[in-house]
């Protein structure tokens, strides 16, 4: 009897139908305090600690004053909590003559990320759809090139892209950067969407064709509404990728449009006398805040979206 009750308590909170994809399906547990569970939770908690330490260190350090950092070790909690490093990182840290911290970069990052995410996903989803359902001659060759492109280090492509953007006159513009992000996001995103659309029953696509829907009608009316989970995955991946980008941000923009990461680099590397670790850490957390929030809020959707098609073959 005890076993049954344990099972029930474990199952509480997991809606067996709605959460089919995210609910556990592995071997089932036996008893809460069995040796196996102690081992399981022990390991998980230990590993979780390893993953959390850097975040802890970042937060703790950012709340300390410089004298305390010089004396204590990095793991001890702050004796005296100060928010000054945060204020400085956000509003007054200097790079050269500009002393407005990360605040300017934040809006630049938003301005870069939003159109880049929308544009790159729009292009990649149409690609994936065309590849999965329309398969015109040669399509797979282009796709193969694209997948190989996923392995090309960005550094290798900087120069050709400088030339490309110069030739089409978009160098140094926001749209230039949007195109660069779309190009480098394309391989993985296209793979993602192609896999997802391939897993949609082909008969659905055929039915729509018999119903008279063309390429775009099928995309917008049939495929798009069904692809929401994978769109969530793509949006999360792109927001993090583009928000965190440094290389393209520094090379393909100008100082007044520098994204946050470039300013983070400027703050961290603008050593004025001693390294202000507390300010650096605060700046680091501030820069990572947007993608972190995205993950904390939509982590569950992320796993579900991946399960819904990204990993099918």
């Amino acid at each position: 009897m005890a076993d049954v009750q344990t099972l029930n308590t474990v199952a509480v909170g997991i809606d067996p139908v709605a959460d089919r994809l995210s609910g556990p399906q592995g071997a089932r547990p036996k008893r809460v305090l069995s040796r196996r569970n102690i081992f399981l939770y022990g390991t998980l908690i230990f590993v979780a600690a390893y993953y959390l330490v850097p975040l802890y260190v970042m937060i703790v350090t950012s709340l300390k004053g410089m004298p305390e950092i010089r004396l204590g070790n990095i793991f001890s909690p702050p004796v005296e909590i100060t928010f000054e490093p945060w204020v400085k990182a956000w509003a007054t840290a200097c790079t050269g003559l500009n002393c407005d911290g990360l605040s300017r970069g934040f809006w630049n990052s938003v301005r870069i990320t939003v159109p880049s995410v929308i544009f790159s996903i729009a292009v990649a989803s149409v690609n994936g759809y065309a590849l999965a359902n329309w398969r015109f001659k040669g399509a797979n060759t282009f796709f193969t090139i694209l997948i190989v492109g996923a392995f090309i280090p960005y550094q290798v492509m900087i120069y050709p892209i400088v030339i490309l953007l110069r030739e089409i006159g978009l160098y140094g513009t926001l749209w230039g950067l949007v195109i660069v992000h779309s190009i480098f996001g394309m391989p993985i995103l296209t793979l993602l969407f192609r896999n997802y659309f391939t897993s949609v029953p082909e008969e659905l696509f055929k039915a729509a064709r018999v119903d008279g829907a063309g390429f775009w009608a099928i995309y917008f009316k049939i495929m798009l509404p069904m692809a929401l989970p994978i769109f969530v995955v793509a949006i999360i991946l792109q927001i993090t990728g583009i928000w965190n980008d440094f290389l393209f941000g520094v090379i393909y923009t100008k100082p007044d449009t520098y994204p946050m990461t470039v300013q983070l680099n400027n703050i961290v590397n603008s050593v004025q006398g001693v390294k202000e670790y507390n300010v650096n850490m605060a700046a680091t957390i501030l820069t990572g805040l947007v993608p972190l929030l995205v993950y904390f809020v939509s982590g569950k959707l992320f796993v579900r979206g991946i399960a819904a098609g990204a990993v099918k073959g």
């Binding site: 556990p24 399906q25 939770y41 850097p54 065309a130 280090p153 550094q155 120069y159 680099n265 680091t284």
Partner: protein
């Protein structure tokens, strides 16, 4: 019906079949041809020149390659990438899978654990590098902590020891990347038919055996996606090294992508950078092209 049933219509031009699909694929075709293929060809052509700051078509044969393969730094870079690549591949897969398997045991607080394992992926390599540089710093990081706890001879300073610096980078890379791998694996495990577990239990097969011989082979597509993600990350390793060690100490943690960047832009020797790029592209091509062609090139489905 004016057209009698005897008339034959000619096969329309292939150009205009699926015209909309082709138009919609123009961005992809342009990217594939102009950027990836074009950029590659361009890079290879200029690797045979002595271009300095600006690309110039003054061919010098294989000079750049001879210099490349006699540069100690390039050899170190290759060796580092090799060590890092193999270890990163193994550890990412193993840790990612083990974590996913543990989370798949109907545990409590699954969401909490999952979020904890996944959040580092939201942080950039630059942030990851800075944080781990800070934690691994012998003067106030882990080593300092253990020493001040009484173990005076304890030494753990991977970022300042040439022999083990690449492992210091690996620690940070795994911290950042294994969460995503775990997520993919978890999704794969959730896609396994529950009947498999029932069958295995009825047959009395131990759990580890079920995973090893039944579940993992069934997860082939997941492993392929994972492999693409891990492998492309390995070749691109750059930001993390720059943020953590800048290639130091004494060039012991140099990687090929950094060699490319440094010679192209710092040394203002494009030819040398392109030669290194070409070597990287070549090794990628040797490994990836046959696989990608088999996986995506053939006419599947139907």
């Amino acid at each position: 019906m004016s057209s009698s049933s005897g008339t034959a219509t000619r096969r329309p031009s292939q150009m205009f079949r699926n015209l909309n699909a082709k138009i919609a694929s123009i961005p992809m075709i342009l990217t594939a041809l102009c950027v990836f293929l074009g950029g590659t060809v361009w890079t290879i052509v200029y690797s045979f020149t002595n271009s300095k700051l600006l690309p110039r078509l003054k061919f010098v044969g294989l000079d750049q390659y001879e210099r490349l393969w006699s540069a100690p730094r390039w050899l170190t870079s290759i060796e580092n990438l090799f060590v890092y690549g193999i270890l990163s591949l193994i550890f990412s897969l193993v840790i990612g899978f083990l974590l996913a398997a543990m989370l798949d045991q109907k545990i409590r607080f699954e969401g909490v654990f999952r979020t904890i394992f996944l959040y580092p992926f939201a942080l950039s390599f630059v942030v990851t590098g800075l944080t781990w540089q800070w934690i691994l710093n012998p003067d106030f990081g882990v080593q300092h902590l253990v020493r001040s706890a009484g173990w005076e001879s304890f030494t753990f300073n991977p970022l300042y020891d040439q022999q083990i610096v690449i492992y210091g980078i690996l620690i940070a890379a795994l911290w950042q990347g294994t969460g995503l791998i775990m997520c993919l694996m978890l999704a794969g495990l959730r896609g396994i038919d529950e009947d498999i577990w029932k069958a295995a239990r009825v047959d009395g097969i131990p759990m580890w055996k079920t995973y090893l011989f039944i579940v993992i082979p069934m997860m082939r597509p997941v492993f392929i996606t994972t492999l693409v993600i891990i492998a492309s990350g390995i070749v691109r390793l750059y930001d993390l090294v720059v943020a953590q060690t800048s290639g130091g100490p004494g060039g012991a943690s140099e990687v090929p992508a950094k060699y490319v960047y440094d010679y192209m832009f710092l040394a203002q020797n494009l030819g040398q950078g392109f030669a290194a790029s070409t070597m990287m592209l070549l090794s990628v091509a040797i490994i990836v092209v046959p696989w990608a062609y088999l996986e995506f090139g053939g006419r599947k489905r139907g």
